[in-house]
């Protein structure tokens, strides 16, 4: 089973890294690092598009219990805060259940998003691979295809020309028909 054995070398390396570090000058500040407080390193996550923004929002907002309680009311502010805190305390079991549910949802969405991204990458890679293999592996087929494509293009252009001629003929025909009708009248 994983982690059952003592990883001696890993422990030694970690100790050496800790005890004989390539140290800087700054002293670690007592309050926790701001970034470490945000799950999954959200601070470093640059929202690439709206989906990413939504996932970032999920990650930042899944914990609905640990939220700052504030009030901007001048006189009743502290009373409002106290009441809100009491309500939060009363609702704790429910809120905790919701937090766990939210967390699981967030993880699932994130996992799916990563998987989707991987799949898209794989698909692009495969497309590239197929294209390159096809062109390098079967040059005569590619040449034939190109010839056929050119022929099709030429054929399409001929059709277009015929269509134009047809339209011209139709117009002339219509004109003649109209003239004939005029004459009959």
């Amino acid at each position: 089973m994983q982690y059952e054995e003592i990883p001696t070398q890993q422990i030694i390396d970690r100790l050496r890294q800790t005890l004989e570090p390539r140290i800087g000058i700054a002293e670690p500040s007592l309050p926790g690092r701001e970034n470490s407080a945000i799950p999954f390193g959200i601070a470093s996550l640059h929202a690439r598009d709206e989906d990413d923004e939504d996932i970032a929002l999920l990650k930042a907002g899944f914990d609905i219990y640990n939220i700052p309680i504030t009030s901007y009311q001048r006189r009743l502010g502290s009373a409002v805060i106290a009441v809100r805190k009491i309500v939060r305390k009363l609702l704790r079991p429910v809120l905790e259940r919701q937090v766990i549910y939210n967390f699981a949802n967030t993880r699932v969405v994130q996992t799916l998003s990563i998987q989707l991204q991987k799949l898209q990458e794989n698909q692009q890679n495969l497309e590239k691979k197929i294209k390159s293999e096809f062109s390098s592996g079967f040059p005569e087929v590619t040449a034939q295809l190109e010839t056929q494509q050119n022929a099709i293009a030429a054929f399409q252009s001929e059709i277009e020309q015929i269509k134009v001629v047809q339209q011209q003929h139709t117009a002339i025909l219509e004109k003649i028909t109209a003239q004939l009708l005029d004459r009959q009248q």
Partner: protein, 712 residues
């Protein structure tokens, strides 16, 4: 010629076959009787084929392999093997004129006060490499005449401050009188330091220009960066040993300081302070150390300086390593608390252990609660104002939300007074300020929040694979290793009775599922009255007063208490007796739950039962599947129907019951104290070894480091 004394010449080799070959060839041409020459090569753990090739090419040369890549150590090894009256050191990139040895031997023979002599050392192009060494201002040293054209300006014999060890000949008595070369220097500056000791002992160093040797500039050690590193580092060691009052003023003139290589400066001074403590009188140390400490605190933080001074006390053997074990719930009896108390009992002879608690509790309490000897441990109570003000007995960190100050900063400040800080009960908001810190995680109860500090710990130790899974899921962290709790509950063997035992706290939230177990037992009695004739369900557990859940259980039994007993806060002997007599063990914790916190994170009671040959039928969740192998050492259930089915299976089949009882007992051995002890001792032995030892730099690593720095 045969009257000449035996001379041992020691050559140190590290991945330098080409140079060493040339050097040995030049020795074959010496105008010195071959039988009087004792040639020694010390290989510094070369990674090329040096040793086997040299053995093949020079069968008469004695070759030894050093245990580390350390030039000074190699020379000491060579000296210990040398047979000669005179002992020479040669760099492997040096070659000797044929009369070099003869001249120096004769010169040493004329005056017993001369401890060592060397000749004129020239580069291949004829420029001077060294005509002795001399001190410069700012405590750096240089080769006399370095790089100058040889126009006879150094052709006068004379005493010098020191000699370059690229080619030098010592009198054996001098080496023996002065003592071994200081191996902490590794390479470079060891000649300066040794010369200083020679002078202190009254030995003279003589420059004899008639003896010529040639040296390939930095052929044996790659690049000037390596030389710079060791010369700068060892300069501090030299000063700490011989001119301690200059140590503080030497910092600003150090290349490490002027080049802003503060990390290298820090490492070097760490070793230098050790030297100071090892070699100087207490009054000198008392003068220098505070000055040094003040100066370093300006460059680094006070915390870092205090840390190295504190660590050096351990390195010097002045005190044991200190461990602080913080448990915010130490005043309660619990499995997690027993876990760390056991750990403390195992380590108390090798470490100074202090428990840190937030509420009043004594070492004697811990001893009586857990049956342990903790006589060498101490306890320190640090009340937390936030919880005291609110009269809270339970230190619940989850009530500290985003907008609040961190009340655990007080514990963080205390942590810096110890070498190791152990956060024993996964309180995620305590920032460790000790050099080494360990976070024991029994389950990641919270989510990452503003005061989350677990990332700052050196090591994380988890109590089960289940905890490891959630540690990753919730905190995105991986443990260093897994340490199952130690369980020792085996009692005397007595005949088994028709008892189904369930041990678990009557917890107010009902996590141990006693009500569900009662209902399951009742349904078994109703469905199979004959088969379950004489069987009893005994529910044992602790409870707080006025426990509403317990009240519900008791009310349930008031209606019908047939064959069901509830034993609240039973003493240990009674629990042991029940374990010994019970045939089957039920545990339903986690059943019907979605919150992983409400699962059994490991399941000590299950192991206790198994050690007493009770067949466990436990909920298939949390840490329980790690203990019970379904069908071999018990059963895992997912539904009440499965619980009932497996129970009946055992009751109607005594052979299967006996088989699984043996299987359970065997499986439980994996979670005994011996395994725990072995792991704990091994882990802390590694920590102690690394903390109490100053590692000497390996030149190969340093070369790689300076190389990568250059690339950056």
């Amino acid at each position: 010629m045969t009257t000449l004394p035996i001379c041992s010449l020691i050559i140190v080799n590290y991945n330098g076959l080409r140079h060493t070959k040339d050097c040995l060839k030049s020795l074959q041409k010496l105008a010195y009787p071959e039988q009087q020459l004792d040639l020694i090569v010390i290989d510094n753990c070369s990674k090329d084929d040096s040793v086997s090739s040299l053995r093949e090419l020079f069968p008469k040369v004695r070759i030894f392999v050093n245990s580390a890549n350390n030039f000074a150590k190699a020379l000491n090894l060579g000296i210990s093997q040398a047979k000669g009256q005179y002992i020479g050191f040669l760099n492997n990139d040096a070659t000797l004129d044929s009369h070099w040895l003869e001249i120096l031997v004769k010169r040493l023979g004329t005056n017993n006060k001369i401890g060592a002599t060397s000749g004129k050392l020239l580069f291949k192009d004829g420029r001077i490499n060294s005509a002795g060494i001399q001190q410069l201002p700012n405590f750096y040293w240089r080769d006399v005449g370095f790089g100058e054209k040889d126009s006879g300006q150094y052709d006068t014999e004379g005493e010098v401050e020191g000699l370059c060890w690229a080619a030098v000949l010592f009198r054996r008595e001098c080496l023996e009188d002065v003592g071994p070369i200081d191996e902490d220097f590794v390479m470079y500056f060891e000649d300066v330091e040794f010369a200083k000791r020679c002078h202190k002992r009254g030995w003279k160093m003589l420059y004899t220009p008639a003896a010529i040797a040639h040296h390939e500039y930095r052929g044996s050690s790659k690049g000037s960066k390596l030389t710079e590193y060791f010369c700068n580092r060892n300069r501090f060691l030299y000063l700490a040993k011989h001119e301690p009052l200059q140590l503080v003023s030497s910092i600003h003139t150090s290349d490490f300081f002027t080049h802003k290589q503060y990390d290298l400066l820090f490492e070097s001074l760490f070793v230098a302070i050790k030297k100071l403590r090892d070699y100087q009188k207490p009054e000198i140390i008392a003068t220098v150390l505070p000055q040094l400490s003040e100066k370093l605190a300006v460059i680094y933080s006070r915390l870092k300086v205090d840390r190295i001074l504190s660590r050096l006390q351990v390195v010097g053997g002045d005190r044991k390593m200190s461990i602080a074990i913080y448990d915010h719930g130490l005043h309660f009896i619990g499995g997690g608390q027993k876990y760390v108390a056991t750990l403390a009992s195992l380590l108390q002879n090798e470490f100074d252990i202090t428990f840190i608690a937030n509420k009043a509790v004594a070492v004697s309490d811990l001893e009586s609660w857990y049956g342990l000897n903790l006589s060498r441990c101490q306890i320190k109570i640090i009340p937390l104002a936030f919880y005291e003000k609110r009269g809270m007995q339970c230190i619940d960190s989850s009530i500290i939300v985003e907008d609040m100050d961190n009340p655990f900063d007080e514990i963080a400040r205390e942590s810096k007074n110890y070498d190791i800080f152990i956060n024993a009960n996964q309180l995620e908001k305590v920032k460790p300020l000790s050099p080494i810190s360990i976070f024991f995680c029994h389950f990641p109860n919270t989510f990452r929040n503003r005061h989350f500090a677990v990332d700052d710990y050196t090591f994380i130790i988890a109590n089960s694979q289940f905890t490891i899974k959630w540690l990753d899921k919730r905190w995105n962290l991986k443990p260093t290793f897994l340490l199952y709790p130690p369980v020792e509950m085996a009692t005397v063997k007595v005949p088994k009775e028709k008892i189904i035992l369930a041990v678990g706290q009557f917890e107010a939230g009902g996590t141990k599922k006693q009500i569900e177990l009662i209902q399951a037992f009742r349904s078994l009695l109703a469905d199979y009255p004959e088969e379950f004739q004489g069987w009893r369900l005994v529910l044992v557990g602790s409870s707080i007063p006025r426990n509403p859940y317990l009240k519900t259980v008791q009310n349930l039994l008031k209606q019908d208490s047939r064959a069901i007993e509830v034993k609240v806060n039973a003493d240990l002997d009674e629990v042991k007796s029940l374990y010994a007599r019970a045939s089957i063990f039920w545990h339903g914790c986690g059943f019907g739950e979605v919150n992983p916190q409400r699962f059994e994170h490991f399941g000590m009671a299950t192991v206790e039962a198994m050690q007493n040959c009770c067949v466990p039928i436990v909920f298939n969740g949390g840490g329980q599947p790690e203990i019970v192998q379904h069908g071999r050492s018990g059963f895992l259930f997912n539904t009440v129907e499965e619980l009932c089915q497996h129970s009946r299976q055992l009751i109607v089949n005594p052979d299967l019951l006996a088989e699984l009882q043996a299987g359970a007992q065997q499986r439980s051995q994996n979670f005994r104290l011996a395994r725990f002890e072995e792991k704990v001792k091994r882990f802390f032995e590694i920590i102690h070894q690394e903390y109490a030892t100053i590692r000497l730099p390996n030149p190969a690593d340093v070369a790689q480091m300076v190389e990568s720095d250059r690339d950056r």
